[in-house]
Amino acid sequence: MQIKMKKVKIVTRRRGETTETWIDVPDTGEEGWGDVAGMKYVGQRHQRIDAVEKVTGRAKYTYDMKLPGMLYGKILRSAYPRARVVRIDASKAAALPGVKAIILPDDEGAADLLRRECRYAGQEVAAVAATTLEIAEDAMNLIEVQYTELPFVVHADKALESGAAQVQDDRPNGSEPRVNEQGDINVGFAESEVTVEAGYKTEVHTHVSLETHGSIAHWENGKLTVWASTQAISATQGGLSQFFGIPNSDVRVIKDHMGGGFGSKLGPRPEYAVAALLARKAGVPVKLMLTRKEEHITTGNRPDSFQNVKIGAKKNGKLVAYRRENFGTGGIAGRASIPGQPYLYEVPNFRVEQTDVYTHGGPQTALRAPGHPQAAFAMESVMDELAAALDMDPMAVRQMNDPDETRRNMVTLGAERFGWDKRRATPGPATGIQRGMGMGAGVWGGGGGRTKAEGVIHPDGSVEIRCGTQDVGVGTKTVIAQIAAEEFGLTLDDIIVKIGDTNYPPSGGSGGSTTCASVSPAVKNTVQMARLKLFDTFASSTFGVSPHDLEAKDGKVYVKSDPSKSMTWQQAAAQLGDEPLVVQGQWVPGLSSSGVPAVQFIEVEVNTATGVVKVVRVVAVNTSGLIMNPLLWESQVNGGVLMGIGYGLYEERIMDPRAGYMVNPNLEAYRVMGAMEIPEIEVVAYNQPERGVIGIGEPPFIPTAPAIANAVYNACGARVRAIPITPDKVLAALAERREG
């Protein structure tokens, strides 16, 4: 049976520009997801299929893997924030028994990985592989490096001062401001009846993935296999093949289970290439996993932000003018832009000026909703301050200026579930232990594409779905099994899901909340075609009907109009004869979309004697179109909220200005929230199944920090304009309030 192709239009919006493209997709005669209400798997709560494997410790992560004869790699990193390597002597390290390979910056192939010019403390200088991790570490410490120390700067504000050490040779530390404007802010502010002006600050935030970065590299006959803890097997394959100058086909990347990435594992990482280089030199596999300290200083971060904001409104709350001047640093990678013109709300006159700053710090990289939490913190804080100045309910001010109907509905829904009407109209006293309520909002894109999948029905009835995506821990495997089980009328146990291997049909990286919206349509299309092709082998001969007239349910295949005409799934598969049925499908439009708001309401408790803030209750309202599995979805929302509390109350990279090192590259002084800090979280779904699948990874993280800050203000009148909201800042804000 030939499945016909049809042309469909794809509309993409990127940075305000809309592009239309036409693509050919298989025509299965079915459209949309249908009504999931009556379905057994799609849209239903199902425990993840690898749950038992995970909780019993049988799931093997890259960190757990061992290959025969495998060596352990370590990277020697720059001891200074900026330095030139004058001399390296690795002779003592080489003489240490057990050391099998050493790579220095001048070695062949190492130039792009190992540095003679170091621009941040932690940059790669040399690497070593040895028979044990301990020997590798000892060897690393035996490599003698002589540096010439050079002037440096690690803070964005200092880097903008005249005379600051220059980070990049070819450009100044501060970029030309990128300006985005509309209307005339001078006119706007002149028309404003109430204005608020304030400075907001957010700190550099690191990913703290439970599993650190790393890989195992294995060469065999010039072909490279890499097991990597990665969010992007395809990009890793491409990057490594380019690095080593070998065809893509000679690089295979495998990732089974992984302990999170949050954006920091989206591409070919330098440490993967180092491991592969060591493995090639040693002639045996090399495993190289980073330490927690290396994670904090080298694998990426969310840039900080300094935002000076002025907002003006009419007395009725209608926004008239908005100005934001912001800068921030992504370390040696610069880029620290944040979205918004302005963020979320409609303002007739605005001007936004952004400056990216280079510093001698580790490079920024994507971190859960890049830019958005920074934007949300300042915008949602200033909206709260404006509401106080207007003597209005901050929710009312938001609703009046929010052009997004979905978000307005979500705010209404959340306010009701939360009990926003019980919020005190003015802040509580600056004494004792006080509770307060705050809200925040955000927006994210999501959306999918670029994915192929393969379905295999074996003659014995067993089923495989193969897709070169990866499950970063969110439950992708489970969603794939759900779609296939639904379509084939089988159970989740009947579906063998094979992902995380570049030998399977390609998919994109798992970033930007795009995986579910990319993979689900591709799998749906694949299994639909597989089902049609299977039915085609016997529909007419056995039942005298067209394959479209058959249905698969509860392990049976039957004629829709006469269910008594049926056979078991195994009998149906047996019609294939000796050969398995192999079908490739692809992402098709109409099953997913993008663009989702997020809203949170938070209640906090502030101890005004100590400045300690506890989040006691959160109502998180999210939408992501058709929710494939509410149980997994809620997990994502919970995770986003928890990370948001960490961002709002605890987490920050702290750099020593004089030495240029991070002082808290650990989990003691870089605080992520613990079990005791977990509040009651009510996850509310704003259902829009008609929109198809949209990702949920990022949106629930965005509104948390400003909602906390606003709740702290409501509790005790302490306006904290910098996150994390640590006790010292709360005490200072309380003192400011008392002084009036």
């Binding site: 004697a609 020593d656 030495a659 002084a669 929230m673």
Partner: protein
């Protein structure tokens, strides 16, 4: 981690010679929750690690006529849950239950908690060659000193990390110490040393000495104690500020008090002036605030830690009022 020899000690008497006379050459291992971190970060680089857990009988809690005796290897969890420890020592149980996390309390020992090394992020990092690591700079002075000392600092500004030591000092506890010439006993008041006296150590243990018992004298009737600890998270975190207060009350008049601050000084910081001030006073809000102010009179904060003054004052007055 540097390579070291691992030695199982078999008796208290043999430990001093296994430790040797030079600091840094050997380390005692009890619970290991502090030592392992120091070893991994190359902060401690001993040639020998002397395991004390192989010595039988160092793990006990005994109520005797003259007070409470606690073996050095008694775990924090055992102290936390012991029913042998009666109410007069509840400040100790309060402090111990505020240490770290259940997992760490299951392993960490009381002597280890008292003798643990500071958490200063400059000291704990191999990137900084700080005074305490044998270098010539205290980086906190012009660096990031949010968690550093506001009292008693200089030239190094660590804060003492132990919760239990603060409580024990408020109970007038002492420690029994084994050295090459046999045991000696020292009040906790005298046990800890300021950096101006010895920058490399936080207590007066010599290289070949170790703590073999904690002795807590019986307190007077009608004495109650309280431990208040401020931390950002309710587990794991060390104190930003803490206070242990004991008061012997007759009616609402305080006849005797002890007040010890934690998290603000390089040693558990006893404030005798405040103790005297409280003696014979009826406890009112004014008295409590005056005591709190007096407790921090000597505070001399750095760039980032002046918040600790108000925070500590607030918990001192709160603790006093709670006991009255």
């Amino acid at each position: 981690m540097k390579k070291f020899a691992y030695i199982d000690a078999t008796s208290v008497d043999t430990v001093p010679s296994l430790l040797g006379r030079r600091f840094g050459q050997a380390q005692v291992l009890a619970g290991g929750t502090d030592l392992v971190g120091e070893l991994k970060e190359y902060i401690a680089t001993p040639d020998r690690v002397v395991n004390l857990k192989s010595i039988p009988g160092l793990d006990y809690i005994r109520q005797e006529d003259d007070g409470l005796k606690i073996g050095p290897l008694t775990t924090l969890a055992d102290i936390e849950t012991s029913t042998l420890i009666n109410d007069q020592y509840s400040v100790l149980q309060q402090a111990v239950s505020a240490i770290a996390s259940p997992q760490i309390r299951n392993v960490g020992t009381i002597a280890g908690n008292i003798c643990q090394r500071p958490r200063c992020w400059y000291y704990r990092s191999e990137d900084f060659d700080c005074l305490k690591n044998g270098g010539d700079t205290c980086y906190s002075v012009r660096g990031v000193n949010r968690y550093h000392a506001i009292i008693g600092g200089g030239p190094c500004y660590i804060v003492h990390p132990s919760d239990s030591a603060v409580a024990l000092m408020s109970l007038n506890a002492s420690v029994k110490i084994q050295g090459p010439r046999g045991p000696r006993e020292e009040m906790l008041d005298d046990f800890f040393v300021l950096p101006e006296l010895n920058i490399m150590r936080e207590n007066g243990l010599r290289a070949n000495e170790f703590v073999t018992e904690i002795i807590v004298p019986a307190s007077k009737p009608n004495t109650k104690g309280i431990y208040v600890k401020v931390r950002e998270r309710d587990a794991i975190d060390f104190a930003m500020a803490s206070v242990a207060v004991t008061m012997t009350m007759s009616g609402n008049t305080c006849s005797e008090a002890t007040v010890v601050l934690g998290g603000v000084a390089p040693v558990p910081w006893r404030v005798p002036d405040v103790e005297q001030f409280l003696q014979g006073k009826q406890i009112t809000e004014d008295v409590a605030s005056a005591a709190a102010e007096m407790a921090l009179r000597e505070a001399d904060p750095m760039s980032d830690n002046s918040y600790k003054i108000e925070m500590t004052q607030n918990i001192v007055s709160q603790a006093i009022l709670d006991l009255a």
